[in-house]
């Protein structure tokens, strides 16, 4: 799957995007967030408070209980602030 990070999520993780081999236990966006949280200091900071995060699945807003599959593009970002 392809992962994208925006705004302070991107800054804390230190990259804008990456490809990830989906771990078998990750079947929802919430599980993906929990998995990423365990990947190191930057990720831990970015995913420390999931309530402050929003997600998109294949370029559409998605809730954290939305399913994820291998081909998905998943993005994490703070609540949008608009233009």
């Amino acid at each position: 799957m392809k992962l994208l990070y925006f705004a302070w999520v991107r800054q804390r993780i230190g990259k804008a995007e990456e490809n990830l081999e989906r771990p078998s236990e990750v079947t929802t966006i919430a599980e993906l967030a929990a998995y990423l949280h365990s990947r190191g200091e930057g990720y831990a900071k970015a995913f420390a408070d999931p309530v402050r995060l929003r997600a998109a699945r294949n370029q559409e807003h998605a809730s954290f209980d939305a399913p994820v599959s291998d081909e998905d593009e998943i993005a994490f970002f703070p609540p949008v602030t608009g233009g």
């Binding site: 994208l4 705004a7 370029q59 602030t81 608009g82 233009g83």
Partner: protein, 149 residues
């Protein structure tokens, strides 16, 4: 006709209104909203980041909703990204219709959407400090008034 652009460059309101209304004799009204970076409040610059692909899609979806709700002849939405200073322009929404009410309504609807729920993130520079702007409750309330029951 619908134009949606996300770009770093500035825009020319006259040229955009001409492109919108030219050759469309049914148009009686064009409402062009321009948003500016407010300065004079300690703000050095504003950097706007977006989600390429999703931004255009989401704006297009709301443009389609505006076209569905009001009888529009043409619509132009241009949103700038990147680093902008005080007095710079951020956004242009221009809606054309036979009558003035739909043009006003559609432009206001799209601005309420763009300012609140479009996939943009803003970072403010004030001197040496840089901070991400938090989502505002009042703007979300403005967007809510358009909800269809």
């Amino acid at each position: 006709m619908r134009t949606v652009r996300v770009q770093t460059a500035d825009f020319d309101i006259e040229a955009e209104c001409r492109a919108l209304a030219g050759g469309r004799p049914a148009i009686g009204a064009v409402v062009a909203f321009t948003g500016y970076v407010r300065g004079g409040n300690g703000l050095t610059a504003l950097t706007i980041e977006h989600y390429p692909g999703m931004t255009e899609r989401e704006i297009g979806r709301h443009a389609a909703e505006a076209e569905d709700r009001w009888p529009l002849d043409a619509l132009t939405i241009i949103h700038r990204i990147g680093r902008l200073g005080g007095g710079d322009r951020i956004v242009l929404v221009a809606a054309a219709s036979a009558r003035r009410e739909p043009a006003f309504q559609a432009a206001e609807f799209l601005m309420d959407y763009l300012k609140t729920r479009a996939p943009f993130w803003k970072r403010e520079e004030r001197g040496t400090s840089m901070e991400w702007v938090e989502a505002k409750e009042s703007d979300a309330t403005a967007a809510l008034k358009w909800h269809r029951s």
